[in-house]
Amino acid sequence: MLASPLRMHIPDGFLTPAISVVGWGIAVVMIIVALRRTRRQLDDRMVPMMGVLAAFLFAAQAINFPVAAGTSGHLIGAALAAIVMGPWAATLIMTAVLAVQGLLFQDGGLVVMGWNIVNMGVIAAFSGYLAYTLARRLSGESRVAVMAASFAAGWISVVVASLATAIELAASGTSPLVLAVAAMGSVHALIGVGEGVITAAAIGLLLTARPGLLQAGATAPGGRTAAVILVGLAAALLVAAFSPLASRSPDGLKAVAASQGFLGLGQAAPYQILPDYTVPFISHPALTTIAAVIVGTLVVFGGAVIIGRLATRRQAAGL
């Protein structure tokens, strides 16, 4: 298995047991709801379909292409699964993928698996699905619009999930919040481009080969609850990031802010999306890095919508 150091699969030992238990709590609730919704959606087709598609995602992660400087783009797949099957089914598929990766290949820990499921399953699937449906609604029906929305969904799902991972690591006192967010966010901003390109191209192929499939994904259950679930999880994570829990840990933010030289290291991470990774008017260093990621997200989303709109208008004009 390809292993780059800043992957999102948290191994055991990097989160405190208390935080791991919270992660399992959220994951269990989400899995139970996902099982119910997906069962209603697919009936007795559920087990074979979810199982084989999970095997597909795991296998598809080996299809890679060179990006730059020895890194290669490959798929996590939550956004792709969510676009085609709906967010609840995608959560289930990702849970199966992560369970086998963690149990059989020790790729990601067992006690921390709850958070891995929440990050790469729930958060990635729902953020990708939300980005895709919103972009589609704003940009129309043309092929380019669908593919641009898929790109945005792939990129956003990876970056948002990496942000959540960074916050969990920081809340456990494993990594200083500012650095964790900056490093995870910037590396995954690049990895997300690979995810976005593969997701867009895969959806492009499905659009040609089986256009009916995408309609099924659009009517899958979970569309309306997606925003509620995401906002809830985001609020919980932000509270975790700035709670006494995080700042009480010995590697608090103060120490990082004091050694500004060190903050520079985070900013000099090899791939950065915003020039300084800081936004003026916001003085809290961790808040600034998070804000920078949010701005990046809006830029990608906005770009996808604009490209999609232009393409849809050109198509409507018969060009």
Binding site: D12, V47, A60, A183, D251
Partner: protein
Amino acid sequence: MHFDLTDQYRPRPSFVHHLDPRVKVVLAFAFILTAGLMPIGAWSGFAALLILALAASLASRLGLAFALRRSYIALPFALVALPLVFTVPGEVVYQTPLTGWTITAQGLERFWSLILRSWIAIQAAILLIAATPFPDVLWALGALRVPRLLVATIGFMYRYFFVLADETARMLRARAARSAKVEGRRTPSPLWQGGVAGAMVGSLFLRALERSERVHAAMLARGYNGQMPSLARRAIRRMDRVVILAALLLLVGLLAWARPS
């Protein structure tokens, strides 16, 4: 190819292999939790856990170094904890010459404790899988109240993963065969190559979806009604009770005994 398609299970005539899979799953989780609860700097506690892991490896007749050999997998992740040596305030032991960052004793202690925790924890996971056939692990999860439909889904994934990995390998080989490097022509841009990879993912998805439809039809033909029947029934034996009780007491005792140095 990056797949490690060799089965992780190592059959041996050992009493660990014969333990009830439920016992082994519970003990692996308990061991990993204990490693997580071991306080920062409790070196004797970490040493005791390491000895326990080695002893379990010996008892499963896998050899002393079996779990050690494969336990490096999670270590690259240590990079995220590395900043701790600089950011944890405390007694300065070293200052980098040019940038003036300070490495503190407390930071080093915290960093090494995290690395040890994760390194020791992963050995439990490796041993669990090496000493228990994966279908038995899944059965144990079901018996331990993990939703049966989820366990069945994971079981399907395990069964078809190898099939789809072969399918992927064939597609990758075909791509490699088509992608000759022509003298005097530029290699295509990453974006173009990403498009090809994405189209491969898309067609692999369609093949998987169609396969799942065939599998479902075959299941219906054999009388599938939405429930996954399982034949295996196991009873907890006296040996299992003794082992789980002794091991849990040992782990709790270790936690009570270990103090940060």
